[in-house]
């Protein structure tokens, strides 16, 4: 079997430019397997929505080809692609009732009336809106509209569902609830989903795999845990989760690890060599706040001290902002075990495992 037949959706060398001067998407290569939930995550303007629109057929790639089920789809108009889509503001038709909105894709496919009725009712029940068929979208709350949009994108049994920041307009609680609901629906019907968001926690919650976009390029495509724990460059490290950075210069390379001299003469740090190559290169070290231990002398290599600048009590943990090696935005999360007695201005001894420090590009 060749590559194209293994992946359900395949982006091959996709470039996209609107004005012939700036590339919005650069050399995108992406494979999505059948049944997968893939999220495109990135800041606004990173090209993720453009990529989605190319897949839906509303934008044409400037270069390259997109394959759906091994067939190139660039020449297929959007209305023949059989791809469902949930739009950012739902795009529910305000002059139709909920049931009419849902039957619209079935009517244009010339499905018989009784079948339409049955499918619409089933779709409404799937999103727990069985009794809302006769209402108009304007009579529904934001969360309900969201569900209707979801049901409408699924009711005609598309090959693939695209979601363009579908939860952006909801408040925090509802958003979290809907995240789980969408995930459960995906698990239940096993449809392939391509999801676009700029909210990293949303991406981590829902996805099988996440493609982190920046500047038109996929920075890293991986499962949520790998992305968080093993970011491959400093953008991903900063964008996903909280991250402490220390800048320095590589002094010594030793297989998969390296030694870095911190800028300002604060000392040497042992770290994993990720995307630095040779001695003398500038690097940015990335350490997750929860991987830093305080007041311990277990680790031999990386021992530092920092002054507490600010303490924030967050219930389950205390968030301490420290001044460490010239970085006064260094965050440490201290589990609230009742034994933390330091005050702002105190010096803390810090240490971390060299396996938890990643030497990335700058």
């Amino acid at each position: 079997m060749n590559d194209a037949s293994q992946s359900f959706v395949k982006f091959e060398k996709i470039d996209k430019s609107y004005d012939g001067e700036v590339l919005v998407v650069k050399n995108l290569n992406l494979d999505i397997a059948k049944g997968e939930f893939v999220t495109m995550l990135g800041p606004s303007g990173s090209g993720k929505t453009t990529t989605l629109m190319m897949l839906a057929g509303f934008e044409t790639p400037t270069n390259g080809e997109i394959f759906l089920d091994t067939k190139p789809i660039s020449k297929i108009p959007p209305y023949e692609r059989e791809i469902g889509m949930v739009f950012q503001n739902y795009a529910l038709f305000p002059h139709m009732t909920v049931a009419e909105n849902l039957s619209f894709p079935l009517e244009v496919r010339k499905i018989s009336k009784p079948d339409i009725k049955e499918k619409v009712q089933k779709a409404l029940e799937m999103v727990e809106l069985g009794n809302f068929g006769t209402r108009f979208p304007a009579q529904l709350s934001g969360g309900q509209q969201q569900r209707v949009a979801l049901a409408r994108a699924l009711v005609f049994e598309p090959r693939l569902v695209l979601m363009d920041e579908p939860l952006g307009a909801l408040d925090k609680n509802l958003r979290e609830q809907m995240q789980y609901e969408i995930k459960h629906i995906h698990d239940r019907i096993g449809i392939t989903v391509v999801y676009v968001t700029h909210d990293q926690s949303e991406a981590l919650t829902m996805s099988n795999r996440i493609a982190v976009f920046n500047d038109g390029v996929v920075q890293q495509l991986s499962t949520p845990d790998i992305l968080y724990e093993k970011p491959e460059n400093s953008f991903v490290a900063k964008f996903i989760g909280e991250n402490n950075t220390l800048n320095g210069v590589v002094k010594e390379v030793n297989g998969s690890s390296c030694t870095v001299e911190l800028d300002g003469g604060f000392g040497m740090v042992k770290a994993l060599k990720i995307n630095v190559n040779e001695v003398g290169e500038k690097t940015q070290l990335s350490i997750r706040p929860e991987r830093v231990s305080i007041d311990s002398s277990t680790s031999g290599s990386n021992n530092f001290s920092g002054k507490i600048e600010e303490l924030i009590y967050l219930g389950d943990h205390i968030r301490a902002r420290l001044d460490v090696c010239g970085n006064n935005e260094f965050i440490v999360k201290v589990p609230n075990e009742g034994s933390f007695s330091h005050k702002e201005g105190d010096q803390l001894n810090l240490s971390w495992d060299s396996e938890d420090v990643r030497a990335l590009d700058i």
């Binding site: 839906a56 057929g57 509303f58 108009p77 959007p78 209305y79 023949e80 692609r81 059989e82 791809i83 469902g84 889509m85 739009f87 950012q88 503001n89 795009a91 038709f93 305000p94 002059h95 619209f104 894709p105 244009v108 496919r109 409408r152 005609f156």
Partner: protein, 425 residues
């Protein structure tokens, strides 16, 4: 467990009923709001409500002539038309004295009114009055007033003159409304069609309707794509386009209308180009102005912005994602337009349509200038009677009918589409 619902009046902390307290608090605001709108309200009442009321009254008012010939009309009502060919002696007598002693200006006004009922009254009465004044001067008292009148002018023995009194003897009369639809009273007081050569209003009403409907349809056909472009083009292009749409608003109506005459007349620009291109021969130049065609073309162009702007304001807020969503759901672009886009523009279509129709049905200057003989609309007749014949009663009746039609349309529209569906901006 039982829940008791208190039905007692709600009180404020101070023990005053809540509603009363609220009213007191709101009173100041209400008063202020009223004072703020009062000048406008006053203005509208004085310049809008009162003139319209006055006009509507005029259209049925016949009191002036009744104040000039009160006794004549009183006696006239006693005339048994079946029994006697001519009115009784008392009618002639009353008329004699009312003509002899009446105020000259008032009689003059009444004569104009009488001439609407039957032409010929004016000269007849004028001659008669001169003779009566002579008789009064001499101090003679006629033996028979009837004979005297008939001696002065044989028309006084013609009952058709007397029959025409029938439509004037009441303070209120519906004659103007009948006139406005080519009807009049017969000698027996029945409503009949006017003489063939005096029938022009029904024709004009139908033409007014036809032109208004066509103009509305043409405006919709021409305006819809423009409004769509305006709503969807990038800002810098749509701004330019908007200026082109609004430009006619900043140009005088007269200038635009005369520009159309220049364009459309037989030696005009369009005919010139057509002849030059060899599409029409020099003898076969098209007659495009001073007829209904000219009225249609010029009015469509002039009223187009009134269609485009409401449409634009509605289209602007239809999210572009709707068309995309429809296509994504499997509808071809034409289907997506028909099922998703068009229904959402209905508020704009109806607002623009109603606006254009209302303006068109009462349009005056343009049809008057480019309409020629058979392109004139009802507004032209109103102006004609207002300025030339001074038949204000008929003017008012024509205007009243126009107003009535508008109200009926408005009511129908509200029934069918719902007035809150309208969107002007």
């Amino acid at each position: 467990m039982e829940v008791t619902i208190s039905t007692a009046e709600l009180l404020t902390t101070d023990g005053v009923p809540l509603k009363q307290s609220l009213r007191k608090a709101e009173r100041r605001n209400k008063l202020r709001a009223f004072l703020l709108v009062f000048p406008l309200l006053f203005f509208i009442v004085v310049t809008f409500v009162m003139p319209i009321g006055d006009m509507l009254l005029r259209s049925i008012d016949d009191s002036q002539i009744n104040s000039v010939f009160p006794n004549t009309f009183k006696e006239y009502k006693n005339w048994d038309k079946a029994a006697d060919e001519l009115p009784p002696e008392e009618v002639y007598k009353s008329l004699f004295f009312e003509l002899a002693n009446g105020d000259k200006r008032q009689i003059g006004k009444a004569l104009t009114r009488m001439n609407y009922a039957k032409s010929g009254w004016k000269s007849l009465i004028k001659k008669t009055t001169r003779e009566i004044k002579k008789i009064v001067k001499k101090g003679e008292e006629p033996v028979s007033y009837k004979e005297t009148f008939i001696k002065i002018n044989k028309f006084w023995g013609d009952p058709t003159y007397w029959y025409s009194f029938n439509q004037m003897v009441n303070d209120r009369s519906s004659i103007y409304y009948w006139n406005a639809v080519d009807r009049t009273y017969s000698e027996d007081g029945d409503v009949v069609l006017q003489d063939e050569r005096r029938r022009m209003y029904i024709k004009t009403w139908f033409r007014t309707f036809k032109v208004s409907v066509y103009v509305t349809i043409f405006c919709l056909i021409l305006g819809f794509p423009v409004a769509h472009l305006l709503a969807n083009l990038p800002l810098r292009y749509s701004n330019l386009l908007m200026i082109f749409v609004l430009l006619p608003f900043w140009t005088s109506l007269l200038v635009r209308t005369t520009a159309w005459i220049v364009m459309l007349q037989q030696n005009g620009v369009i005919n010139g180009i057509l002849v030059w291109l060899g599409i029409v021969s020099d003898e076969g130049r098209l007659q495009m102005v001073y007829n209904e065609t000219g009225t249609l073309i010029a009015m469509t162009q002039i009223l187009l912005p009134f269609m485009i702007l409401p449409l634009y304001s509605v289209m602007r807020v239809i999210p572009k994602s709707h068309m995309r969503a429809a296509q994504n759901l499997g509808a071809k672009p034409a289907m997506a337009f028909w099922r998703v886009y068009l229904p959402q523009t209905i508020p704009g279509i109806s607002a623009g349509g109603l606006l254009v129709f209302v303006l068109a049905i009462g349009y005056f200057i343009t049809p008057e200038l480019v309409g020629g003989k058979d392109g004139k609309l009802i507004g032209s007749w109103i102006a004609y009677h207002l300025k030339t014949t001074l038949n204000w009663g008929l003017c008012a009746a024509l205007g009243g009918i126009l107003l009535g039609i508008m109200l009926i349309l408005y009511w129908l529209y509200n029934k069918i589409v719902g007035i809150d569906n309208i969107k002007l901006g």
